[in-house]
Protein backbone atom coordinates (compact mmCIF):
# COMPACT_ATOMS: atom_id res chain seq x y z
CA UNK A 1 0.00 0.00 0.00
CA UNK A 2 1.90 3.02 -1.24
CA UNK A 3 1.66 6.21 0.69
CA UNK A 4 -0.51 8.53 -1.33
CA UNK A 5 0.73 12.08 -1.55
CA UNK A 6 -1.90 14.72 -0.99
CA UNK A 7 -0.89 17.62 -3.19
CA UNK A 8 -3.77 19.95 -2.65
CA UNK A 9 -4.54 21.04 0.89
CA UNK A 10 -8.17 21.85 1.32
CA UNK A 11 -8.33 25.14 3.19
CA UNK A 12 -10.67 25.37 6.11
CA UNK A 13 -10.93 27.71 9.05
CA UNK A 14 -9.33 25.05 11.27
CA UNK A 15 -6.46 24.46 8.85
CA UNK A 16 -5.81 28.19 8.79
CA UNK A 17 -5.76 28.32 12.57
CA UNK A 18 -3.05 25.63 12.60
CA UNK A 19 -1.07 27.41 9.90
CA UNK A 20 -1.45 30.69 11.76
CA UNK A 21 0.26 29.14 14.79
CA UNK A 22 3.26 28.23 12.65
CA UNK A 23 3.36 31.50 10.72
CA UNK A 24 3.80 33.56 13.89
CA UNK A 25 7.13 31.89 14.65
CA UNK A 26 8.25 30.18 11.42
CA UNK A 27 11.63 29.12 12.80
CA UNK A 28 10.29 27.44 15.95
CA UNK A 29 9.34 23.83 16.41
CA UNK A 30 6.00 23.05 17.99
CA UNK A 31 4.63 19.89 19.52
CA UNK A 32 0.99 18.96 19.04
CA UNK A 33 0.22 20.29 22.53
CA UNK A 34 1.80 23.68 21.70
CA UNK A 35 -0.24 23.98 18.51
CA UNK A 36 -3.36 23.05 20.42
CA UNK A 37 -2.69 25.75 22.99
CA UNK A 38 -2.38 28.42 20.29
CA UNK A 39 -5.14 27.22 17.97
CA UNK A 40 -7.49 25.85 20.66
CA UNK A 41 -8.67 22.98 18.45
CA UNK A 42 -9.79 19.58 19.76
CA UNK A 43 -7.39 16.69 19.23
CA UNK A 44 -9.77 15.02 16.78
CA UNK A 45 -9.53 18.07 14.53
CA UNK A 46 -5.92 19.03 15.13
CA UNK A 47 -4.06 15.79 14.39
CA UNK A 48 -5.72 14.97 11.05
CA UNK A 49 -4.80 18.50 9.92
CA UNK A 50 -1.20 18.18 11.14
CA UNK A 51 -0.76 14.84 9.35
CA UNK A 52 -2.40 16.12 6.18
CA UNK A 53 -0.17 19.20 6.10
CA UNK A 54 2.84 16.97 6.72
CA UNK A 55 1.98 14.58 3.88
CA UNK A 56 1.47 17.57 1.59
CA UNK A 57 4.96 18.78 2.46
CA UNK A 58 3.90 21.96 4.24
CA UNK A 59 5.16 20.73 7.62
CA UNK A 60 8.11 18.65 8.68
CA UNK A 61 8.25 16.59 11.85
CA UNK A 62 10.81 14.76 13.96
CA UNK A 63 11.05 13.12 17.36
CA UNK A 64 12.38 15.18 20.25
CA UNK A 65 16.05 14.42 21.03
CA UNK A 66 15.56 13.05 24.54
CA UNK A 67 15.70 9.67 26.18
CA UNK A 68 12.20 8.95 27.58
CA UNK A 69 13.69 6.90 30.44
CA UNK A 70 15.99 9.79 31.37
CA UNK A 71 13.44 12.62 31.43
CA UNK A 72 10.64 10.44 32.76
CA UNK A 73 8.07 11.33 30.07
CA UNK A 74 7.35 10.19 26.52
CA UNK A 75 9.10 11.86 23.59
CA UNK A 76 7.27 14.66 21.86
CA UNK A 77 6.83 14.91 18.13
CA UNK A 78 7.98 18.34 16.94
CA UNK A 79 6.55 20.02 13.87
CA UNK A 80 8.16 22.78 11.86
CA UNK A 81 6.91 24.63 8.81
CA UNK A 82 8.90 23.99 5.60
CA UNK A 83 9.99 26.78 3.22
CA UNK A 84 7.45 25.46 0.70
CA UNK A 85 4.73 25.46 3.34
CA UNK A 86 5.73 28.96 4.42
CA UNK A 87 5.33 30.40 0.94
CA UNK A 88 2.12 28.50 0.25
CA UNK A 89 0.59 29.49 3.61
CA UNK A 90 1.71 33.07 2.94
CA UNK A 91 -0.24 33.01 -0.34
CA UNK A 92 -3.33 31.73 1.45
CA UNK A 93 -3.21 34.42 4.11
CA UNK A 94 -2.44 37.12 1.53
CA UNK A 95 -5.68 36.26 -0.24
CA UNK A 96 -7.88 36.25 2.85
CA UNK A 97 -5.91 38.41 5.31
CA UNK A 98 -4.56 37.45 8.73
CA UNK A 99 -7.55 39.18 10.31
CA UNK A 100 -9.65 36.19 9.27
CA UNK A 101 -8.40 34.29 12.32
CA UNK A 102 -9.61 36.67 14.98
Amino acid sequence: MGKRQVHDVRMSFQTMKVLGAFLNQPTDEFSGADVQKISSLASGTLYPILLRLESAGWLDSRWEDVDPAHVGRPRRRLYKITPNGLSRAGEVFASVGLGALT
Partner: protein
Protein backbone atom coordinates in the same frame (compact mmCIF):
# COMPACT_ATOMS: atom_id res chain seq x y z
CA UNK B 1 -31.53 11.08 56.43
CA UNK B 2 -29.16 8.12 56.66
CA UNK B 3 -30.16 7.13 53.11
CA UNK B 4 -28.88 10.44 51.67
CA UNK B 5 -25.71 10.07 53.68
CA UNK B 6 -25.16 6.57 52.33
CA UNK B 7 -25.82 7.73 48.75
CA UNK B 8 -23.37 10.61 49.15
CA UNK B 9 -20.78 8.19 50.56
CA UNK B 10 -21.19 5.75 47.65
CA UNK B 11 -21.06 8.55 45.04
CA UNK B 12 -18.01 9.97 46.78
CA UNK B 13 -16.28 6.59 46.70
CA UNK B 14 -17.07 6.02 43.03
CA UNK B 15 -15.91 9.47 41.96
CA UNK B 16 -12.75 9.11 44.07
CA UNK B 17 -12.08 5.80 42.37
CA UNK B 18 -12.68 7.29 38.90
CA UNK B 19 -10.43 10.28 39.67
CA UNK B 20 -7.68 7.98 40.89
CA UNK B 21 -7.88 5.77 37.83
CA UNK B 22 -8.48 8.56 35.31
CA UNK B 23 -4.82 8.74 34.27
CA UNK B 24 -4.71 5.01 33.61
CA UNK B 25 -8.02 5.23 31.81
CA UNK B 26 -6.80 8.10 29.64
CA UNK B 27 -3.64 6.24 28.64
CA UNK B 28 -5.64 3.09 27.92
CA UNK B 29 -8.07 5.04 25.74
CA UNK B 30 -5.23 6.71 23.81
CA UNK B 31 -3.52 3.35 23.17
CA UNK B 32 -6.78 1.80 22.09
CA UNK B 33 -7.79 4.68 19.84
CA UNK B 34 -4.37 4.90 18.16
CA UNK B 35 -4.93 1.35 16.93
CA UNK B 36 -7.72 2.56 14.64
CA UNK B 37 -5.24 4.66 12.66
CA UNK B 38 -3.46 3.14 9.63
CA UNK B 39 -1.03 0.43 10.84
CA UNK B 40 1.99 2.35 9.52
CA UNK B 41 1.15 5.35 11.68
CA UNK B 42 -0.48 3.95 14.80
CA UNK B 43 2.77 3.48 16.77
CA UNK B 44 3.87 7.05 16.08
CA UNK B 45 0.48 8.50 16.94
CA UNK B 46 0.28 6.48 20.17
CA UNK B 47 3.61 7.87 21.40
CA UNK B 48 2.77 11.37 20.22
CA UNK B 49 -0.63 11.38 21.91
CA UNK B 50 0.69 9.91 25.16
CA UNK B 51 3.21 12.78 25.28
CA UNK B 52 0.41 15.24 24.58
CA UNK B 53 -1.78 13.66 27.27
CA UNK B 54 0.84 14.34 29.95
CA UNK B 55 0.75 18.04 29.20
CA UNK B 56 -2.99 18.51 29.66
CA UNK B 57 -3.68 19.88 33.15
CA UNK B 58 -7.23 18.78 34.06
CA UNK B 59 -8.32 15.19 34.60
CA UNK B 60 -11.57 15.72 32.72
CA UNK B 61 -9.89 17.44 29.77
CA UNK B 62 -7.43 14.55 29.66
CA UNK B 63 -10.30 12.09 29.31
CA UNK B 64 -11.96 14.24 26.66
CA UNK B 65 -8.66 14.38 24.77
CA UNK B 66 -8.27 10.60 24.96
CA UNK B 67 -11.82 10.03 23.72
CA UNK B 68 -11.40 12.52 20.89
CA UNK B 69 -8.35 10.59 19.65
CA UNK B 70 -10.85 8.11 18.21
CA UNK B 71 -12.13 10.84 15.90
CA UNK B 72 -8.56 11.76 14.97
CA UNK B 73 -7.79 8.12 14.09
CA UNK B 74 -10.94 7.81 12.03
CA UNK B 75 -10.15 10.93 10.03
CA UNK B 76 -6.46 10.08 9.60
CA UNK B 77 -7.34 6.58 8.39
CA UNK B 78 -9.85 8.05 5.98
CA UNK B 79 -7.51 10.64 4.51
CA UNK B 80 -4.79 7.99 4.23
CA UNK B 81 -6.88 5.37 2.42
CA UNK B 82 -9.28 7.43 0.32
CA UNK B 83 -8.35 11.11 0.26
CA UNK B 84 -10.43 11.67 -2.89
CA UNK B 85 -13.75 11.47 -1.04
CA UNK B 86 -14.91 13.78 1.71
CA UNK B 87 -14.53 12.66 5.31
CA UNK B 88 -18.28 13.11 5.67
CA UNK B 89 -18.74 10.27 3.21
CA UNK B 90 -16.85 7.99 5.59
CA UNK B 91 -19.01 9.17 8.48
CA UNK B 92 -22.19 8.61 6.46
CA UNK B 93 -21.07 5.15 5.36
CA UNK B 94 -20.29 4.13 8.93
CA UNK B 95 -23.65 5.49 10.10
CA UNK B 96 -25.37 3.58 7.31
CA UNK B 97 -23.61 0.33 8.28
CA UNK B 98 -24.34 0.90 11.96
CA UNK B 99 -28.04 1.64 11.46
CA UNK B 100 -28.63 -1.14 8.96
CA UNK B 101 -26.73 -3.70 11.06
CA UNK B 102 -28.66 -2.67 14.16
CA UNK B 103 -32.01 -3.05 12.41
CA UNK B 104 -31.05 -6.37 10.83
CA UNK B 105 -29.77 -7.56 14.21
CA UNK B 106 -33.04 -6.55 15.83
CA UNK B 107 -35.04 -8.31 13.14
CA UNK B 108 -33.02 -11.53 13.22
CA UNK B 109 -32.35 -11.65 16.95
CA UNK B 110 -35.00 -14.34 17.65
CA UNK B 111 -33.60 -16.53 14.85
CA UNK B 112 -30.06 -16.05 16.07
CA UNK B 113 -30.98 -16.81 19.67
CA UNK B 114 -32.80 -19.97 18.56
CA UNK B 115 -29.80 -21.04 16.46
CA UNK B 116 -27.42 -20.42 19.36
CA UNK B 117 -29.73 -22.34 21.67
CA UNK B 118 -29.94 -25.26 19.22
CA UNK B 119 -26.14 -25.42 18.95
CA UNK B 120 -25.85 -25.37 22.73
CA UNK B 121 -28.43 -28.15 23.11
CA UNK B 122 -26.76 -30.41 20.55
CA UNK B 123 -23.18 -30.04 21.79
CA UNK B 124 -23.56 -29.21 25.46
CA UNK B 125 -23.55 -25.97 27.40
CA UNK B 126 -19.83 -25.27 27.13
CA UNK B 127 -19.54 -25.76 23.36
CA UNK B 128 -18.73 -22.57 21.43
CA UNK B 129 -21.60 -21.05 19.42
CA UNK B 130 -19.46 -19.10 16.97
CA UNK B 131 -16.81 -20.23 14.57
CA UNK B 132 -14.13 -17.55 14.20
CA UNK B 133 -11.78 -17.58 11.24
CA UNK B 134 -9.15 -14.94 10.50
CA UNK B 135 -9.48 -12.53 7.57
CA UNK B 136 -7.68 -9.39 6.52
CA UNK B 137 -9.56 -6.16 7.09
CA UNK B 138 -8.98 -2.53 6.21
CA UNK B 139 -5.31 -1.67 6.05
CA UNK B 140 -4.44 -5.38 6.09
CA UNK B 141 -5.35 -5.57 9.76
CA UNK B 142 -6.48 -9.10 10.71
CA UNK B 143 -9.86 -9.66 12.34
CA UNK B 144 -12.10 -12.63 13.00
CA UNK B 145 -15.08 -13.40 10.82
CA UNK B 146 -17.87 -14.88 12.92
CA UNK B 147 -20.24 -17.61 11.78
CA UNK B 148 -22.46 -20.00 13.66
CA UNK B 149 -20.48 -23.17 14.22
CA UNK B 150 -21.86 -25.80 11.91
CA UNK B 151 -19.11 -28.43 12.16
CA UNK B 152 -18.50 -30.92 14.91
CA UNK B 153 -15.91 -30.15 17.54
CA UNK B 154 -13.99 -33.46 17.53
CA UNK B 155 -13.70 -34.14 13.79
CA UNK B 156 -12.63 -31.82 11.03
CA UNK B 157 -15.35 -30.50 8.77
CA UNK B 158 -18.16 -32.95 9.52
CA UNK B 159 -21.33 -30.89 9.83
CA UNK B 160 -23.57 -31.35 12.83
CA UNK B 161 -27.30 -31.96 12.36
CA UNK B 162 -28.10 -28.43 13.49
CA UNK B 163 -25.21 -27.12 11.40
CA UNK B 164 -26.52 -28.77 8.24
CA UNK B 165 -29.88 -27.06 8.73
CA UNK B 166 -28.22 -23.70 9.49
CA UNK B 167 -26.15 -23.97 6.34
CA UNK B 168 -29.12 -24.80 4.11
CA UNK B 169 -31.04 -21.80 5.44
CA UNK B 170 -27.85 -19.66 5.37
CA UNK B 171 -28.50 -18.81 9.02
CA UNK B 172 -24.88 -19.66 9.83
CA UNK B 173 -23.87 -16.45 8.01
CA UNK B 174 -26.02 -14.16 10.17
CA UNK B 175 -23.27 -13.34 12.72
CA UNK B 176 -21.48 -11.50 9.88
CA UNK B 177 -23.83 -8.67 10.81
CA UNK B 178 -22.02 -8.56 14.15
CA UNK B 179 -18.74 -7.94 12.29
CA UNK B 180 -20.42 -5.03 10.53
CA UNK B 181 -21.74 -3.70 13.83
CA UNK B 182 -18.26 -3.89 15.37
CA UNK B 183 -16.82 -1.95 12.43
CA UNK B 184 -14.53 -4.67 11.06
CA UNK B 185 -16.64 -5.04 7.95
CA UNK B 186 -19.12 -3.07 5.89
CA UNK B 187 -22.25 -4.31 4.14
CA UNK B 188 -20.76 -3.58 0.74
CA UNK B 189 -17.07 -4.02 0.01
CA UNK B 190 -14.50 -6.46 -1.35
CA UNK B 191 -14.83 -9.96 0.10
CA UNK B 192 -12.38 -10.49 2.98
CA UNK B 193 -9.66 -13.05 2.25
CA UNK B 194 -7.88 -15.51 4.52
CA UNK B 195 -4.41 -14.12 5.41
CA UNK B 196 -2.45 -16.94 3.73
CA UNK B 197 -4.45 -16.68 0.51
CA UNK B 198 -4.25 -12.89 0.59
CA UNK B 199 -0.46 -13.01 0.90
CA UNK B 200 -0.21 -15.48 -2.00
CA UNK B 201 -2.49 -13.36 -4.19
CA UNK B 202 -0.65 -10.16 -3.31
CA UNK B 203 2.58 -11.80 -4.47
CA UNK B 204 0.98 -12.91 -7.75
CA UNK B 205 -1.17 -9.90 -8.68
CA UNK B 206 0.13 -6.33 -8.87
CA UNK B 207 -1.90 -3.66 -7.01
CA UNK B 208 -3.61 -6.39 -4.97
CA UNK B 209 -2.83 -4.66 -1.66
CA UNK B 210 -4.77 -1.61 -2.89
CA UNK B 211 -8.00 -3.44 -2.21
CA UNK B 212 -7.39 -3.09 1.53
CA UNK B 213 -7.98 0.64 1.27
CA UNK B 214 -11.66 0.02 1.95
CA UNK B 215 -13.36 -2.13 4.55
CA UNK B 216 -14.18 -5.64 3.39
CA UNK B 217 -17.87 -6.32 2.97
CA UNK B 218 -20.52 -9.01 3.02
CA UNK B 219 -21.59 -8.21 -0.54
CA UNK B 220 -19.02 -7.21 -3.13
CA UNK B 221 -19.28 -5.28 -6.36
CA UNK B 222 -16.99 -7.88 -7.92
CA UNK B 223 -19.35 -10.70 -6.86
CA UNK B 224 -22.09 -8.88 -8.73
CA UNK B 225 -20.04 -8.42 -11.88
CA UNK B 226 -17.98 -11.57 -12.13
CA UNK B 227 -19.13 -15.19 -11.80
CA UNK B 228 -17.79 -17.41 -9.05
CA UNK B 229 -14.20 -18.54 -9.51
CA UNK B 230 -11.26 -19.36 -7.29
CA UNK B 231 -8.22 -19.27 -9.58
CA UNK B 232 -5.60 -16.52 -9.53
CA UNK B 233 -6.91 -15.30 -12.89
CA UNK B 234 -10.39 -14.98 -11.40
CA UNK B 235 -8.98 -13.13 -8.41
CA UNK B 236 -7.21 -10.69 -10.75
CA UNK B 237 -10.40 -10.05 -12.68
CA UNK B 238 -12.34 -9.52 -9.49
CA UNK B 239 -9.63 -7.20 -8.23
CA UNK B 240 -10.28 -4.83 -11.12
CA UNK B 241 -13.88 -4.49 -9.96
CA UNK B 242 -12.83 -4.14 -6.33
CA UNK B 243 -10.42 -1.33 -7.21
CA UNK B 244 -13.08 0.34 -9.32
CA UNK B 245 -15.39 0.08 -6.33
CA UNK B 246 -12.79 1.54 -3.95
CA UNK B 247 -12.15 4.50 -6.25
CA UNK B 248 -15.66 5.33 -7.44
CA UNK B 249 -18.36 3.76 -5.34
CA UNK B 250 -17.84 5.10 -1.86
CA UNK B 251 -21.23 6.63 -1.22
CA UNK B 252 -24.33 5.52 0.65
CA UNK B 253 -26.56 5.67 -2.42
CA UNK B 254 -24.26 3.47 -4.48
CA UNK B 255 -23.99 1.01 -1.62
CA UNK B 256 -27.78 0.83 -1.45
CA UNK B 257 -27.90 0.40 -5.25
CA UNK B 258 -25.45 -2.53 -5.02
CA UNK B 259 -27.47 -4.12 -2.21
CA UNK B 260 -30.68 -3.77 -4.25
CA UNK B 261 -29.04 -5.08 -7.43
CA UNK B 262 -27.64 -8.05 -5.55
CA UNK B 263 -31.09 -8.90 -4.24
CA UNK B 264 -32.68 -8.56 -7.70
CA UNK B 265 -30.02 -10.64 -9.46
CA UNK B 266 -30.47 -13.36 -6.83
CA UNK B 267 -34.28 -13.20 -7.08
CA UNK B 268 -34.27 -13.31 -10.89
CA UNK B 269 -31.83 -16.18 -10.78
CA UNK B 270 -29.05 -14.51 -12.75
CA UNK B 271 -25.59 -15.26 -11.56
CA UNK B 272 -24.18 -11.82 -12.29
CA UNK B 273 -25.27 -8.41 -13.54
CA UNK B 274 -25.88 -8.18 -17.26
CA UNK B 275 -23.16 -6.58 -19.37
CA UNK B 276 -25.59 -3.78 -20.18
CA UNK B 277 -26.11 -2.67 -16.59
CA UNK B 278 -22.40 -2.84 -15.98
CA UNK B 279 -21.84 -0.56 -18.97
CA UNK B 280 -24.42 1.86 -17.63
CA UNK B 281 -22.45 2.11 -14.39
CA UNK B 282 -19.32 2.89 -16.35
CA UNK B 283 -20.94 5.54 -18.53
CA UNK B 284 -22.56 7.19 -15.57
CA UNK B 285 -19.18 7.39 -13.87
CA UNK B 286 -17.48 8.91 -16.93
CA UNK B 287 -20.07 11.65 -17.09
CA UNK B 288 -20.14 12.39 -13.41
CA UNK B 289 -16.49 12.37 -12.41
CA UNK B 290 -13.87 15.09 -12.64
CA UNK B 291 -10.86 14.73 -14.95
CA UNK B 292 -8.69 14.03 -11.94
CA UNK B 293 -10.76 10.99 -11.04
CA UNK B 294 -10.66 9.76 -14.60
CA UNK B 295 -6.88 9.93 -14.40
CA UNK B 296 -6.97 7.73 -11.34
CA UNK B 297 -9.17 5.18 -13.13
CA UNK B 298 -6.90 5.11 -16.13
CA UNK B 299 -4.09 3.72 -13.98
CA UNK B 300 -6.26 0.77 -13.01
CA UNK B 301 -7.71 0.49 -16.51
CA UNK B 302 -4.29 0.48 -18.18
CA UNK B 303 -3.33 -2.37 -15.95
CA UNK B 304 -6.62 -4.15 -16.71
CA UNK B 305 -6.05 -3.74 -20.44
CA UNK B 306 -2.54 -5.08 -20.12
CA UNK B 307 -3.91 -8.17 -18.44
CA UNK B 308 -6.85 -8.35 -20.91
CA UNK B 309 -9.37 -7.96 -18.16
CA UNK B 310 -11.70 -5.51 -19.87
CA UNK B 311 -15.28 -6.69 -20.00
Amino acid sequence: MWRELLAALVIGMISDELLGWSDCLGRWLVRRNARYAPPTQSARLEEEWLAHLERIPGKLSRLVFALDCRRASFLIAHQYYSPHVSAWTAVRLRAFDLLLSLSVLAATMPTMLLAAFAIKIEDGWHAPVFDASPRLGQGGRPFNVLRFRSTRLDTDGTPTRVGRFLRICRIDQLPLILCVFRGHMAFVGPRPEHPTRAIALAAAIPLYAERYKVKPGIIGWSQLCYPYGSTTQDAAAKLSYDLYFAENMLSVLRHIAILVQTVTTVVWGHRVLSARSRRTWRERRCLAKTPEDRGRNSRVEAWMKKNRLRD
